[in-house]
């Protein structure tokens, strides 16, 4: 769980979710973008068409076919009123010369609406075109626009102070007039500006709706991504947990195989692997158990006959001493029996190491006392100089410590020359506290070519005496004992002659927490 929590941004789930999100975002933005553009154009076109059509219609209806002389001003006012929709003025077809025939309020227009403003500008042939005075319309009219409006009906969208406006310009056509008085009878140009803020509001509402829809799509995509990735990741996660359990030693861990997809294949493969692993480990364990049993059996089978032999050696020796002759045969058998006993003990001990059956029985041990006790138990106290700090107390197996030390000191006394020294004291190695015991002699040092092989089995330092002393396993056992403690045993030549064996044992063993009650 913690591992997963550490990689929320790079995990498979996050990546899948991001991909889902990207696709959803792209699709919805594209769709809403297109609809926005289409809708906007449609709305603006409609507003535009409406206004332009209105202007055209008004001009058609309001401008008589035959303009009476000097009618430009009147016509201008009338057009302004008509275009702003305040009144409807109809020109009587029967009497086109009469000025105003009908004035009627348009009921469908809201009063006071400032939505549409109109301005009529007199056109004087031969003079530059005029524009409406600023303020009459929502937006100012440029001269260029006015010039174009003189020729045809033109429109343009203008945004002013954030509000969109439609500006339309037109000049009445299709009339006749007195040619002699063109200056006074030319109908005026009209400009209409329309406030498009209602359309803009509609558009804004539409945009908001689109954004909401986009958001909903993204949210849906997230939910879908969550569900889909969970569907994909749950088996992956289950496989991960199963693999972890397998690694921690739960060899009967299997995963459910569901469906026929790649993940199911993977799960099947995993199960197959786990099964093979379990089979192998079970076989190995069986072999291991068999080899331990073998060691135990061998140890029993060898020790039982030795029991009577060892028990009877003293009897034999005593009998032989009383019998005629010097009893050499009996003494030899007794000595050889003891040697055989030692050899069997060593063989059994080394087999126990090989079978992994050797275990530590730990106790709090004062090294100074332990060294003294080992020397004392074997009557070596007078032959060995001891030098060490008084109180390095460590947890170790006293029996195994005794075995190692007795072997090292015994070797030094046998193969080296006095003085043999045992030096001990606290020593840290690789940052671990521990205790070091060095056994040194002044003999010939390590035999040539045996520096590396000194701890190998049945390697004897002194070929001449190989036949009579030692099992050849002592140093191997000593080394195994050191390793079992998590420590080391090293051999080196002593500067100035002799050999020095250095035993280092850690004060604490990781994970060890045995305390006899």
């Amino acid at each position: 769980m913690t591992v997963r929590a550490l990689r929320p941004l790079t995990g498979l789930r996050a990546r899948l979710a991001a991909a889902f999100l990207a696709v959803a975002l792209l699709a919805s933005v594209l769709a809403s973008g297109i609809s926005y553009v289409l809708y906007r154009r449609m709305m603006l076109d409609r507003a535009q068409d409406e206004v332009v059509a209105d202007v055209r219609e008004t001009l058609t209806f309001q401008v008589p076919r035959q303009l009476p002389p000097d009618s430009a001003n009147v016509l201008g006012d009338r057009l302004e009123l008509a275009l702003t929709g305040q009144v409807e003025i109809r020109v009587s077809e029967a009497a086109p010369a009469v000025d105003v025939l009908t004035v009627r309020a348009r009921a469908d227009e809201e009063p006071g609406g400032d939505e549409r403003r109109a301005a009529a500008v007199a056109v004087r042939p031969g003079e530059p075109v005029a524009v409406p005075e600023p303020g009459t319309l929502h937006v100012p009219v440029t001269r260029e626009f006015a010039e174009r409006a003189l020729k045809e009906t033109v429109f343009r969208r203008v945004v002013r102070d954030g509000t969109p406006y439609l500006l339309v310009g037109a000049h009445p056509t299709g009339y006749t007039t007195t040619v002699t008085e063109p200056a006074r009878t030319t109908p005026p140009m009209v400009f209409v500006s329309v406030d498009l803020s209602r359309e803009a509001d509609d558009l804004r509402l539409f945009t908001r709706a689109l954004l909401i829809a986009d958001g909903a799509a993204v949210a849906c995509a997230l939910v879908l991504a969550f569900l889909a990735t969970r569907g994909v990741l749950r088996p992956v996660r289950r496989l991960g947990a199963a693999a972890r359990a397998l690694g921690e030693g739960d060899l009967d861990t299997r995963v459910d195989v569901r469906g026929r997809d790649e993940l199911a294949d993977l799960a099947r493969t995993f199960n197959g692997t786990a099964e093979a692993l379990e089979r192998t480990v079970t076989e190995l364990r069986a072999m291991d158990a068999a080899s331990r049993r073998f060691v135990a059996d061998v140890s029993h089978e060898l020790r039982t006959p030795l029991t009577s032999m060892v028990a009877l050696t003293d009897v034999l020796a005593e009998d032989a001493a009383a019998a005629p002759g010097d009893g050499r045969a009996a003494r030899l058998v007794a000595a050889e029996t003891r040697r055989l006993g030692v050899l069997v003990e060593h063989l059994i001990e080394i087999s126990r190491f090989d079978a992994g059956a050797a275990a530590l029985v730990l106790d709090e041990v004062n090294v100074a006392e332990a060294v003294a006790a080992t020397l004392d138990a074997r009557g070596w106290t007078g032959d060995v100089a001891v030098d060490g700090a008084a109180d390095p107390s460590v947890r170790l197996d006293p029996r195994r410590f005794d075995v190692v030390l007795a072997n090292l000191v015994g070797n030094a006394l046998r193969h080296g020359r006095p003085p043999v020294t045992v030096r001990f004291g606290p020593a840290d190695r690789d940052g671990r506290a521990g205790v070091e015991v060095a056994v040194a002699d002044r003999g010939p040092g390590l035999p040539d070519g045996l520096h590396d092989a000194i701890f190998d089995r049945f390697v004897k330092a002194d070929a001449a005496r190989a036949a009579s002393e030692g099992s050849g396993l002592g140093l191997s056992i000593a080394k195994e004992n050191a390793v079992l403690h998590g420590g080391t045993l090293e051999a080196a030549d002593r500067p100035g002659g002799g050999a020095v064996f250095t035993l280092w044992l850690p004060a604490e063993r990781p994970g060890e927490e045995r305390e006899s009650a």
Binding site: P305, L306, T307, V310, R399, F401
Partner: protein, 228 residues
């Protein structure tokens, strides 16, 4: 010296040990099976039993267990186990079953003799003759221990351990000291002997063996008899 019952199934080992122990001055009765051994125990009342662990039928550990349960034999009979395996499990099981000591085959007759004498040796009479610890009374003259007026039947080893601990209340004693003083083992000795024996003594003298008040464990060191 001592009346010994030896139970050992291997004929030559049996004969060898019998001869060697007889040479050491002991009176030895040898039997080949656990069942025969138990019968002989009831009939002959030896002072000590030496049991091979691996026996056909009921094994040495089970014989030891039955000795500790059976009043007709005397629950306090000292027992030394003879093991050929030296397997840690064997030793632990044997000590849990109530064995006083163990030796690994092949054993030198002198070593075995020393163990027998050590196990049989009662504590020296020293210090106060009588000490009272709550409802526990230790009488060093008669070598009797009573709890709330009831006689506790301790094996000689258990008695010796208790006397050794109770002689210096409040003093922590190391396992190695106890091994040397009670079992007379030369270094290095097996500290599990001490642990197993302390458990057995606790089971007899403590109100609640799981929460010992009289014999306290000194972690990483040894044991201490509660100060008065």
């Amino acid at each position: 010296m001592a009346k010994i019952l030896l139970v050992e199934d291997d004929p030559s080992a049996r004969v060898g040990l019998e001869m060697a122990l007889t040479r050491q001055g002991h009176g030895v009765t040898a039997r080949a099976t656990g069942e025969d051994g138990l019968d002989a125990l009831r009939a002959l009342h030896p002072e000590i039993a030496i049991l091979d662990v691996m026996l056909p039928g009921i094994d040495g550990i089970e014989v030891c267990r039955r000795i500790r349960r059976d009043d007709s034999i005397g629950r306090a009979l000292p027992v030394i186990l003879l093991t050929a395996r030296g397997d840690d499990l064997d030793v632990v099981l044997g000590l849990e079953a109530g064995a006083d000591d163990y030796v690994v085959k092949p054993v030198e007759p002198r070593v075995l003799d020393a163990r027998i004498r050590a196990v049989l040796r009662r504590a020296e009479q020293s210090g106060l003759d009588r000490s009272v610890h709550g409802d526990l009374v230790i009488d060093r003259t008669s070598l009797k221990v009573t709890k709330a007026g009831t006689d506790l039947r301790l094996t000689p080893t258990e008695l010796r351990l208790l006397l050794e601990l109770a002689r210096r209340p409040g003093h922590a004693l190391t396992r190695r000291h106890l091994l040397a003083a009670v079992w007379e083992h030369t270094y290095p000795g097996d500290s599990r002997l001490v642990d197993a024996c302390v458990q057995r003594v606790r089971a007899k003298i403590e109100d609640d063996p799981a929460d010992p008040r009289l014999i306290e464990t000194v972690r990483g060191f040894g044991y201490r008899f509660a100060a008065p």
